[in-house]
Amino acid sequence: MTLLRVKDLHTHFISRNLDNEIRIATALNGVSFELSRGEVLGLVGETGAGKSLTAYSIMNLLKPPARVVGGTVEFDGRNLRDLQSDDMNSLRGSEIAMVVQNPRSSLDPLTRIGEQLVRVHTAHSDATAATARARAVEILGSVGIPAPEERMQAWPHELSGGMAQRVLIAMALMNEPKLIIADEPTTGLDVTVQAQILDLLRELVETRNVAVMIITHDLGIVAHYCQRMAVMFAGRIVETGNVNSVFDNPAHPYTRTLIDATPERLRDLKHKVHGGGAPPNLYNLPTGCHYVERCRFADDVCNDPVAMEEVGAAHFAMCSHISAVRDGWLS
């Protein structure tokens, strides 16, 4: 059953320059994807592609000059874009929880861990402080924090990065969310801790039947922990499908470039990575395919509007030259 259905989401940064002319950076240009309970979706792409912005647009946490200007976000049968801010606020942290980058700086430095766990719970339920406290201890234990009772008294600065990330996951779980959005949850943690955190997330999906969206630029994480993936470029999803299908037979030249740029492939292929370069100018995007400037298959057709095409079983890509790319990539 589909839990989250994002359709044609557009987010713009609207500002004025020094000459008082309105300038619009089209940061999201029609993002569409779906996510079901018990499923892990990996959202990948380079810096500035709009991965985090997609998350914050869904959560309705954008601050000016960023603004959602079009599209729908359907969550559990409701269109989130129609909700009043109070209703949206009561959804955040309870039904949709976030796990963020920089866990240590995301905890309130002047409040003990236990108090922070208790306050996300009491903000969203009628639970008394005592039951919230008991629940916090239980959940801290379940996310693998030793001596949870004592850790309740800890200050954020006393935690390591990995411990802080476990605390954030515990905070996410306090209200039994249906969806967890993990925005680069392991950036800055060392490799063994990374694996522990991701194993923990996967375990939650299996035992609690939550949906998880992992935002990352690490294809290794996607390959190991996600069932489906969506590749973003310049505010659009350019390819999406099951992880195996996308990795085995990528259709979009940008996906191929990303895969070629992973350390393992660089070692195997011994050839130059094609298709690198600067991200396109969001103030003035190409009319057709956004990847046109960096693509070696590009021709005049690429300047025409381009749509998602089915390129395999439940596997879609947004490119006009799919067969040429698949056949001629290594030449």
Binding site: G93, P109, V120, A123, E158
Partner: protein
């Protein structure tokens, strides 16, 4: 870091600091081109008389020898004699410190009571009209010269409107001061139960306190606003919003996390304000340590100038220690280190 090691460390650091400050003021007043000997000896003095006065003051010796003697005296608790009042500088300054502190305290207190909430509100209403207007007014507060502000206040409220008594000291000339307990005429008057003294002292306080408040509020508004805005854009406030905490709770997190940097800023501002307070004292004939110091500078009263600067230095050190103690109370991170 425990309280004791912190205090000890502070004290150890402050010794070379104070010696350095003493050295520089000592040399500056002597190299500044002022010659107090001519003033003291009088216009009719002969060359021999001037030489005698110079020798009496010890100004005929080489500079470094003079400084060495001065340091030796200080260690014995003697910071010199004022050539004008012919009294010990230490006594002169000690009896004036409460007078200056009274003005400074009420001024900064009023400035903070106005400045902190305005700064916070401006941050919470970022770029809305309240923010714009408070920013404009605070810029105005920054730009007014201190002495001019004092003069304008006197001109408007004493000369034009007649609401205020003349700026001539801390209590009306017709009223005899209360017995000294704290050194503040207002508090001493209240303690003595003498309402007429307390009322007169209060009336005299209002204008200079407003002047100090205006001068201190401007930077407090600016920095409180900047601090709160920075806290609001921090990861943990963003995360608190993402956790769906009610806006009131999020605001409370912002306030608590702004409190330490704001308190630290006000503390450091106090040490800087004491210069402006000296000018306000001068305009209102307040008679505190600040006015004493300015007079000493104008008349070339070397020992008094040095004593005044020493007072400023020690005052700053004490304020910084108090600020550190406050941070220790407010911040779990600082207490843990």
């Amino acid at each position: 870091m425990t309280l004791r090691t912190m205090l000890l460390r502070r004290l150890v650091i402050s010794v070379p600091l104070l010696i350095g400050i003493l050295f520089f003021t000592f040399m500056l007043v002597r190299l500044g081109g002022q010659d107090p000997v001519g003033l003291l000896a009088g216009p009719t003095a002969t060359a021999e008389e001037i030489d005698i006065v110079r020798a009496e003051l010890g100004l005929d010796k080489p500079l470094f020898t003079q400084f060495w003697i001065y340091l030796g005296n200080i260690v014995q608790g003697d910071i010199g004699k004022s050539w004008i009042s012919n009294r010990s500088v230490l006594l002169d300054i000690l009896e004036r410190i409460p007078i200056t502190l009274e003005l400074l305290f009420w001024g900064v207190a009023l400035g903070s009571v106005i400045g902190v909430p305005v700064g916070l509100r401006a941050a919470f209403r970022h770029d809305k009209w309240f923010d714009q207007i408070s920013r404009g007014i605070s810029l105005l507060g920054f730009s007014i010269p201190t002495y001019f502000l004092g003069l304008v206040l006197l001109f408007v409220f004493f000369f034009l409107l007649g609401w205020s008594p003349p700026g001539m000291g801390r209590v009306s000339l017709l009223i005899s001061p209360p017995p000294t307990i704290t050194g503040s005429y207002l508090i001493d008057g209240l303690l003595a139960g003498d309402w007429s003294v307390a009322r007169s002292a209060l009336a005299q306080l209002i204008l200079p306190v407003i002047a100090v408040a205006i001068i201190s509020a401007a930077p407090i508004v600016k920095h409180t606003r900047a601090i709160a805005l920075e806290v609001m854009s921090s990861d943990f406030v963003r995360f608190a919003r993402a956790s769906g905490l009610p806006p009131k709770k999020v605001s409370r997190i912002v306030l608590r996390n702004s409190s330490t940097p704001v308190a630290t800023f006000i503390g450091t501002e106090i040490t800087g304000l004491i210069g402006s307070v000296s000018l306000i004292e001068y305009v209102f004939a307040w008679g505190g340590a600040g006015q004493y110091g300015l007079n000493a500078i104008i008349r070339g009263d070397f020992s008094a100038v040095q004593g005044y600067v020493l007072f400023l230095a020690i005052f700053s050190l004490v304020v910084f220690i108090l600020v550190d103690l406050l941070v220790l109370v407010l911040e779990p991170r600082a207490a843990a280190e």
